[in-house]
């Protein structure tokens, strides 16, 4: 089934009876060439690129719940390439380019909207840092515009420019940044992988990883054992438990991150705004809800719900930045489990076990990474060599201290990001 305007028109006129399921619901086979543990954004995109770029279609994605039920369906959908450090810069730049042709490639409307992002700053020092970051982005081949106070006011007249603590001095504008529909990204990759023969197996929890003579031979699941010589662990917040099945301990601690949405409102905010000093960012969804969030709750958690002090903190920051938000009713809040790494940057690498691969450490920023993460992970699994855009995402950087990517310059230790 191909999606097109004509097809939508035809279906609309004939009672929408011609739509078929987007993917099959296969039973697991006893053996595959490769297995992917985790049917989130990164697992699904890895499967898609293994099949589409490397011709590996005898593969399966094993998901313990339903496709898209994890963080991929819980995030606030910000897509950007405004990182400053070598390693991160080229990777997120690569990802944004993949985003820009994703809908055509997948024949799927992921509602990628390049509505721009404004990162506000509130002091002269922060302006210098923003200028430096903007130059790093431009050097990487991406786009950045330094806005002064009047420039921000033209775009976002309703912000509180004269806030006593954090008056707005300007903002770094990244026009190619924006948002996308999170579920649709999972569904689009799932459909694309399925069409190329990948088995997407839901309600299939991996409960053990089989290793013989230092090499992986398969996994145990709630739907029986499955053999494969290549296995990828791509389970975001659950990475610790899955790696433990292979006897590994990871440099990862899992934390809860919350997000919030208001009732649907008329269009009021046509870009993404981040207020770093208040740990707050906001955009407006196509349904009209103001979608916003802040920092993690700041203690280890596997509960997919947060605590009230953080909710209060985020909402206070929202009120400080754009007081008009106080007139909106909050509809829902929720949480997702983040795989926090010590330096705040991810890991895409082999492990010391032959055939066992690891993709984790996305912290609160792994949505924008979904295309490049899958692309680079597939490259690594298929060729045995890291993709150049992700070559620095090494697992051993913590052990050796070499090549740490501490984007926020807070220190490469747990719980500083």
């Amino acid at each position: 089934m191909r999606f097109s305007a004509l097809k939508i028109l035809k279906e609309g006129l004939t009672g929408n009876r011609g739509w078929a399921p987007h993917w099959r619901d296969p039973a697991p086979k006893p053996e595959y060439d490769a297995l992917i543990i985790g049917g989130g954004g990164h697992g699904l995109s890895t499967a898609y690129y293994l099949a589409s770029q490397h011709g590996m279609s005898n593969i399966a994605v094993l998901e313990k719940g339903y496709l898209g039920g994890g963080n991929i369906g819980r995030n606030t959908t910000i897509v950007r390439a405004n990182y400053g450090l070598p390693g991160n810069s080229e990777f997120y730049s690569h990802s944004l380019k993949l985003w820009e042709r994703l809908e055509e490639e997948l024949n799927y409307n992921v509602m990628h909207s390049q509505r721009g992002i404004v990162n506000l700053f509130h002091s002269d020092g922060a302006r210098d840092a923003a200028a430096r970051r903007g130059n790093a982005m431009i050097n990487q081949g991406d786009d950045a515009i330094l806005l002064d106070r009047a420039g921000v006011r033209r775009m976002l007249p309703f912000l509180d420019f004269d806030n006593a603590r954090f008056p707005i001095y300007g903002g770094l504008y990244h026009p190619r940044g924006g948002t996308a529909r999170h579920d649709a990204v999972a569904w689009g990759y799932a459909r694309g992988a399925d069409q190329r023969g990948v088995d997407l197996i839901q309600n299939c929890e991996v409960t053990g990883i089989d290793i013989e003579n230092g090499a992986v031979t398969g996994v145990q699941t709630t739907r029986g054992p499955i053999r494969a010589k290549k296995v990828a662990m791509i389970t975001a917040g659950r990475s610790g438990q899955v790696a433990a099945m292979a006897g590994m301990r990871l440099p990862i601690e899992s934390h809860v991150l919350q997000a919030f949405v208001t009732e649907g409102l008329k269009p009021v905010l046509d870009t993404v705004v981040t207020f770093g000093m208040g740990h707050f960012y906001i955009s407006q969804s196509d349904k009209g809800g103001l979608v916003f969030g802040g920092d993690i709750d700041m203690y280890a958690s596997y509960a997919q719900r947060g605590n009230l002090p953080t909710a209060e903190h985020v909402i206070e920051a929202g009120m400080a930045l754009m007081p008009m938000i106080g007139r909106a009713k909050l509809l829902r809040s929720w949480g997702g489990i983040m795989d926090m790494s010590p330096d705040g940057s991810p890991i895409i690498d082999r492990t010391h076990i032959d055939g066992l691969f690891l993709n984790t450490g996305w912290c609160y920023g792994g949505f924008k990474a979904v295309p490049a993460s899958g692309h680079c992970m597939a490259h690594l699994m298929a060729t045995g060599r890291p993709h150049e855009a992700a070559a620095r995402f090494r697992l051993d950087r913590f052990e050796t201290g070499q090549g740490l990517m501490d984007e926020e310059a807070t220190g490469s230790q747990h719980n500083l990001h």
Binding site: L250, A300, Y302, E399
Partner: protein, 92 residues
């Protein structure tokens, strides 16, 4: 969430700062080698369940606490002074 500080009683979560898994109580020797230090600094058990954590009663008595907490229910089973735990373990 409230934590019961052994010195101050039950207090709001906002008075406390979370430091992480309570590994700092058994710090390796300076020359223990890179593996021991990597394990200490970076590798985490990260359980979905009970574990001991270090919290700091920053806006209270400024004591370091070992909190035994469940990471999926957020239930707190025990709060001890880190000093007492370290003494009992012979690491103080």
């Amino acid at each position: 969430m409230r934590l019961t500080c052994p010195l101050c009683g039950a207090r709001d979560r906002r008075e406390f700062t979370y430091q992480g898994e309570a590994v700092a109580l058994s710090r390796p020797d300076p020359d223990a080698g890179p593996e021991a230090w990597n394990t200490y600094l970076h590798l985490r058990e990260n359980p979905a369940g009970w574990r001991d954590e270090l919290w700091y009663h920053e806006q209270g008595c400024a004591a370091w606490l070992v909190v035994t907490r469940h990471t999926t229910t957020h239930e707190v089973r025990k709060v001890q002074l880190a000093r007492d735990v370290a003494k009992a373990e012979g690491t103080a």
